[in-house]
Symmetry: C2
Subunit: 101 residues, 2 copies
Amino acid sequence: MFKALAHPMRIYMLEKLRERPWCVCELAAIVGVDKSVASKHLSQLKAAGLVDDERRGTLVEYRLVAPCVLDMSECAERTILGNKRARLEAIAAVASPAPLL
Amino acid sequence: MFKALAHPMRIYMLEKLRERPWCVCELAAIVGVDKSVASKHLSQLKAAGLVDDERRGTLVEYRLVAPCVLDMSECAERTILGNKRARLEAIAAVASPAPLL
DNA sequence: CCTCATGTTGCAAATTATTGAAACAATGCA
DNA sequence: TGCATTGTTTCAATAATTTGCAACATGAGG
């Protein structure tokens, strides 16, 4: 499951699917890759249980499942931002150290 | 960050670090790889802000940071188990379909 | 049936990640 | 200082992933 989340394009696709369902050709156009590439990324997300697909005539719509993935991404974002802030503060402390008392 | 979680050995290391801090050589022995390999995996976890290290004499202890990673792993576990259950139920439904009324 | 549009799969090339040995750095201790 | 222990880095080899083209599959609509 974490492996499915370990590619920027797949993360972006999940964020896009947060808005609404999209078909393969739409997502392929959005991220600018061949439809086969988009299809393979989506099938990985599906295998991880993060999305589901439904055939609508000649096209296949993918939609977001696994609501907790949203919590996870928010958690990851919070953690990353927190780390960044901590790093900046550490640098600032070195540049102009606060008085010890 | 998800990339840092995208390797079984690193996941296992994080679970181990949940118990208590361990030094590189201990973790290397536990997972059965060269210390250089363990060191590199741990440095990836550190770069992602998931662990932190502290030098104790000649050895380096790694400890778990980023408490939300625990929530994330639990969330992932719930999702994976849920998917597995859904798949089994789908198979069972095909094998002996429930009455429609 | 034929054709078009959309998706998936197979394949090989390109990219990226992982591994382990060896060299190097840092610490503790006699 | 000399030596042993522990970690990190460097490097080449190996393994895994990603990519795009081509071939194939499926459904819609003449």
